[in-house]
């Protein structure tokens, strides 16, 4: 829905993402907030949370293209992040290559591994496919741990900070700017994939794969493409994560993180780029909230135990996802659309 008085006079205008003056103003405000206010007025702790959110957004964008747009369920996204992270960290440490070479290489490696694990989608769908990605979730970390001559095994692999000329990017604020660039590019790319021919093919496959095939869509090709895009995003995020942390360990990329990524897609809204951002922010915010409130709870009620935080995050996450599935399966993105529409005609009821 579009406000009154907005006319699309040519094709370019019709296809534009930002069409009204109000949207340009909001975008400007957002940019000022992100570029000038956030990095200078927030503490390092908050900035580090935002940085992790940025990396998670990149991961979940890929997963949303695979699961939300193409309808292929993957419960192995964390493993692909691990592939990217280790590819980048190993190159950086073993060969001493700079970050700017490790990063594209990590994307390539992750995309290749994603392609391999996407191959079963030729024959399988639904939860059989989920099973094959579940296998990826266990096979990949096992290989990482059991090849210590390359990956340092269980000790974890260090990764050097990126350099830009003489500048070494290692403070939270510098990382904030770097990650902001990658997130923006990632969002822009994902938003535009969804509007192109492959994007429409993805949606057709999700809605009815038989009908899509009859319309002449090469189902297998597009499914594989979707897997490649998804794991390329995972690889990018993995590489960024490795250099941001300075160290990667295989335990980070557990089944549980994969489930959390899927939960973010559900909460945000499947098949929505804005929803992805909402989902990540809400779920991470929930986690931070629990982490902040549990120490208080344990001081008030000393009976409660020290593992309360971990337990409450799990329970909270599960409940939120379950409630969204039952009451708002279209996720926060749908609520956001409703809110925008009601704001547009405010204060009139019609």
């Amino acid at each position: 829905m579009r406000p009154c008085g907005t006319f699309d006079e040519d094709y370019r205008h019709d296809m534009a993402i930002i069409r009204t003056r109000f949207q340009w103003i909001m975008l400007g405000l957002l940019l000022v907030t992100l570029l000038a206010i956030f990095p200078y007025f927030l503490s390092d702790y908050v900035l580090s949370t935002i940085n992790v959110i940025f990396i998670t957004i990149i991961v979940v964008l890929g997963l949303n293209i695979l699961t939300g747009y193409t309808g292929q369920i993957s419960i192995g996204q964390a493993a692909f992040v691990g592939v990217g992270a280790y590819a980048s960290a190993v190159l950086s440490t073993r060969l001493g290559l700079p970050f700017w070479i490790c990063l594209p290489f990590a994307i390539l490696v992750a995309a290749l591994i994603g392609l391999i694990f996407g191959l079963p989608s030729l024959k399988l769908k639904g939860f059989y496919l989920a099973m094959s990605t579940l296998a990826a979730q266990y096979v990949i970390p096992w290989i990482i741990i059991h090849t210590p001559s390359i990956t340092f095994g269980i000790n974890g692999c260090p990764a050097a900070s990126p350099r830009l000329g003489d500048l070494v990017i290692n403070s939270e604020r510098e990382w904030y700017y770097l990650l902001l660039i990658f997130v923006t590019v990632g969002i822009f790319f994902a938003k535009n994939i969804a509007r192109t021919k492959p994007g429409r093919a993805f949606v057709a496959i999700r809605d009815n794969d038989l009908a899509a095939e009859i319309m002449g869509i090469n189902i297998f090709g597009y499914k594989i493409l979707s897997f490649i895009i998804c794991s390329a995003y995972a690889g990018l995020a993995g590489s960024l994560l490795a250099h941001y942390q300075g160290m990667v360990v295989a335990e980070q990329f557990s089944l549980m993180s994969s489930i959390w990524y899927l939960g973010m897609v559900i909460v945000g809204g499947m098949g929505s780029i804005v929803g992805t951002i909402f989902g990540v922010v809400v779920i991470r915010g929930l986690r931070e909230l629990v982490m902040i409130t549990t120490p208080m709870l344990t001081t008030i009620f000393p009976v409660l135990k020290e593992s309360l935080g971990a337990a409450m995050t799990s329970i909270g996450f599960g409940l939120v996802v379950l409630l969204f599935l039952i009451f708002e399966p279209r996720g926060l993105a749908h609520r956001w659309e409703l809110l925008k529409n009601s704001m547009r005609i405010w204060p009139m009821p019609y």
Binding site: T67, G71, I73, I75, L119, P120, K123, L124, G126, F127, Y128, A130, M131, S132, L134, A135, Y138, V139, W142, I145, H146, L210, I214, M256, I259, L262, G263, I266, M270, K305, E306, S307, L308, A310, A311, M312, T313, S314, I315, G316, F317, G318, L319, V321, L322, L325, I326, P329
Partner: protein, 296 residues
């Protein structure tokens, strides 16, 4: 020779437990069409609940069993009623994600009540010791007992499905819900019962695993092997689940036993997933599953 027989017997012993847990998953899938990813969490929780009843509350064995049954009833009812019934008619991702979310909730509850790492589980009802059969195999009585328990459970389930009224109703519901309903079968009740039975199998599997490894997160790692077992056997067949579990256990042990020296150990954890991938690529619907033929 001794090496091989030893591996096969050990595989059968652990495979029986995988099979038992697989039966629980298949049961729920057959009756309600939901693949229960929360099964591992239920297995862990069952092990913990039984451990708490026996060791923490010092209850007698029979009372603990009764309380465990009551716990299964309540949990099965709650899951069926609160989480899955509202999702009927939703796409498959919703059902998968709901069971995953359920697993997170149950894991969280377990961490909340029993924090920290694992506990040693040396229950008095489990005999200990080792027996040797000739010079072919050496089995710990502990494992043998769990094998026997699994066989007895399989026997009871077979009897239940073949000979009792409610078992027949469950098979009818699995075949065709509408038709079953028109014959006067209460489908909702059948679904609830299948959940309860699945939870009981999970709990037994969890207790047996915990007897070997202690009550700790390793139980959930073993419980996940039920997924490859289910895929191996085929989703629609209970016999398939049992055979899949046994075969998986044997293949896992033989593979690990013979190939470990070449890859530097640890293949036992990986083998089920390699088998899972191979099955998915070459025979996706398992040994006894129905092949899906799509028509327009």
């Amino acid at each position: 020779m001794e090496f091989l027989t030893q591996l096969i017997v050990a595989g059968l012993m652990s495979g029986a437990v995988y099979g038992l847990m697989a039966v629980g998953i298949i049961l729920v899938y057959k009756s309600s069409g939901i693949f229960n990813f929360a099964h591992t969490a239920i297995v862990v929780m069952g092990a913990f609940v039984f451990w708490a009843l026996i060791t923490q509350l010092h209850l007698p064995f029979w009372l603990a069993v009764v309380l465990l049954l009551i716990w299964s009833l309540i949990l099965g009812f709650l899951i069926q009623r609160l989480a899955l019934r509202p999702l009927i008619g939703q796409p498959i991702l919703a059902a998968i994600m709901a069971t995953l979310a359920l697993a997170e909730i149950l894991n969280g509850i377990v961490t909340l009540i029993w924090p920290g790492l694992g506990r040693v589980y040396q229950p008095a009802f489990m005999p200990t010791g080792v027996i040797r059969a000739g010079n072919l195999v050496t089995i710990s009585i502990n494992q043998l007992a769990s094998f026997v328990v699994c066989l007895v459970a399989f026997g009871i389930f077979t009897y239940f499905f073949q000979r009792t009224r409610i078992g027949l109703a469950m098979r009818a519901t699995a075949e065709d819900q509408q038709l079953a309903r028109s014959f006067g079968i209460k489908v909702e009740r059948v679904l609830a019962i299948s959940w309860v039975i699945a939870i009981i199998t999970a709990a037994i599997g969890g207790i047996l695993t915990a007897c070997l490894y202690g009550v700790n997160p390793i139980v959930s790692e073993v419980a996940i092997y039920a997924f490859p077992a289910v895929i191996f056997g085929g989703l629609e067949s209970i016999t398939g689940g049992v055979i899949g579990g046994l075969a998986l256990g044997v293949l896992q042990n033989i593979g690990a036993g013979y190939l470990d020296p070449f890859v530097g150990g640890g293949l036992k954890e990986l083998a089920p997933y390699i088998i899972l991938l191979l099955v998915l690529i070459f025979k996706p619907y398992g040994l006894f599953g129905y092949e899906r033929i799509e028509r327009i």
